[in-house]
């Protein structure tokens, strides 16, 4: 018993082979059809995401959000797309035209490429390559390239500042992300995403490695360049950052790419830590997995939005300190502890393994919180010391040493 889409693919394969086409050509045709299916599924979801985003942010800010076009404003994103398509496309003078036009293409195409390996249901995966996690890391890093190219090619100082900030930010947050991604690989014993999902039985990896899940989600938000890490497009500082000179559909591609990337991070974390397509009844009816997967992905997307609309922007030096002096050491410690514990507990009963892992994670969280608390106290004492105050010369305050 398979899911309908795999069944259709098998049927189509046998039909095409029956027509006398060579097996290589049939594989190629099926691959092209599969790519178009996945890409259009993702892009349709992307249009829907605009509506979700606007509706949810409206609720966070105690507004109604789009509610005029169609039921609950559902047709609003389609109107937005039409508007973007008929807007004039302005290329600023002095821009590097080739790179300028290539940047939005890369920004969206790389996010689409990530969906090639994410398993939607037990058999429903574009390509179940055995280095899935490595592929995700590689393509995820490419997405940054679009931002950098846009900022550099626009011939605008604000855009360049945005690109600079992106370089520092992405380059830094990649490190704890990659190290935290090692944890599910280590627990599953495989780099294939479907193998990782299949290994999450009977408990999801979020139970065994909650710290790693948090780290991946956090660094994922930083990779996205979303608030509180949206330094590359900080509206109040550098107007719109890297996409300041883009108009019409080119801006729309950046916007769509960002929203889709956020959902992709949610999908990735749900695949690696929340069991992906796992849920009750999936063994009997595999197509249910798509539903479970989307529920988990959208839940995490909602968490990312929740963070975005609740947090103020972080200053760049704070952000880099947070990454290099906190997240990176934490991820390294976590990796070592997980590796050793996994080896020590693997021969014991399963419940001992799970409790041991969970306890180790809780101890790490507790130790980190204690460390942060003591550091914050030191910082508070340092800040509370009286500082020299500017006062007019001759006044009593200017002569007394504080």
């Amino acid at each position: 018993m398979g899911d309908p889409i795999t069944m259709i693919a098998r049927w189509l394969e046998s039909q095409l082979l029956g027509l006398g086409l060579s097996p290589v050509l049939v594989t190629l045709i099926l691959a092209v059809l599969g790519v178009i299916l996945i890409a259009s599924f993702v892009l349709v979801m992307d249009i829907f995401l605009v509506w979700v985003e606007r509706k949810v942010v409206a609720r966070f800010q105690d507004r109604l959000g789009p509610n005029r076009l169609g039921p609950f404003g559902l047709i609003q994103p389609i109107a937005d797309v039409i508007k973007l398509l008929i807007k004039e496309d302005i290329t600023p003078a002095g821009a590097d035209k080739f790179v300028y036009n290539l940047a939005p293409i890369i920004a969206l195409a790389t996010v689409l490429l990530l969906w090639a390996v994410i398993p939607l249901a037990p058999d429903l995966v574009g390509s179940d390559i055995n280095v899935g996690v490595l592929y995700i890391v590689a393509i995820g890093a490419l997405a940054t390239l679009g931002v950098i190219m846009a900022g550099w090619a626009s011939n605008n100082k604000y855009a360049l500042l945005g690109a600079f900030r992106t370089v520092a930010q992405m380059v830094s947050y990649e490190v704890p992300m990659v190290i935290a991604l090692l944890v599910p690989v280590l627990l599953a014993g495989s780099m294939g995403l479907n193998a990782i999902v299949e290994a999450q039985t009977p408990v999801w990896f979020v139970v065994v490695a909650p710290v790693a899940a948090l780290l991946v989600l956090l660094t994922g938000i930083a990779e996205l360049g979303r608030a509180p890490f949206d330094l590359s497009e900080a509206e109040s500082e550098i107007v719109a950052g890297f996409h300041i000179e883009y108009t019409g559909m080119k801006f729309g591609l950046f916007y769509a790419g960002e929203l889709l990337h956020a959902l992709t991070i949610g999908a990735l974390v749900s695949t690696l830590f929340l069991g992906g397509w796992r849920g009750p009844g999936v063994e009997a009816i595999p197509i249910l997995g798509v539903g479970y997967f989307l529920i988990k992905a959208f839940f995490l997307y909602w968490v990312i939005m929740w963070v975005k609309y609740s947090m103020p922007r972080i200053r760049i030096d704070h952000m880099l300190n947070f990454n290099w002096k906190f997240l990176t050491p934490l991820s390294l410690v976590l990796l070592m502890v997980t590796a050793i514990l996994d080896k020590l507990l693997e021969n014991g009963p399963y419940w001992v393994y799970v409790t041991g892992m969970l306890l180790a994670n809780l101890v790490i969280i507790w130790a980190v919180l204690q460390l942060l608390r003591s550091r914050a106290r030191v910082e508070r004492v340092r800040v509370a010391e009286p500082r020299p105050v500017a006062a007019p010369p001759g006044s009593p305050a200017s002569t007394t040493t504080l």
Binding site: L108, N156, V167, V175, V239, L332
Partner: protein, 118 residues
């Protein structure tokens, strides 16, 4: 297995087509009336002064260097992590020793002030 990579290859070729189409459609239906004033670089209403593509600070290179070391290290660790279930405890501890050496590197960079944003 080759089929899986064929799929990735096809995806790699087809994925840019969607955004390219989205850029080409406005060429047909959107108005196109450029003028020098409209094409000026945006800078809050004033004319931009000087060259945009300037030299930037060396700090970015230092962060990039530290990043390079840790990212290459992580790539080395991926096979170790994937094979961990079959490895004896000794090999696991060797991997941990490798991470420890990198922790020393991080501490060195930290003490040297390479991680300060000035």
């Amino acid at each position: 297995m080759a089929n899986e990579w064929l799929f990735i290859g096809v995806f790699l070729v087809l994925a840019p087509i969607f955004p390219i189409l989205a850029i080409l459609i406005p060429r047909l239906i959107a108005p196109r009336k450029p003028n020098p004033l409209k094409n000026q670089t945006y800078e809050c209403g004033i004319e931009t002064v000087g060259d945009t593509w300037i030299q930037f600070r060396v700090q970015y290179y230092i962060f990039a260097l530290v990043f390079l070391i840790f990212d290459v290290e992580a790539v080395f660790l991926f096979p170790w992590a994937a094979a961990l279930k079959q490895l004896p405890l000794f090999a696991v501890l060797e991997g941990v020793l490798f991470i420890m050496i990198l922790v020393v590197g991080l501490v060195y960079a930290w003490r040297k002030g390479a991680l300060e944003w000035v």
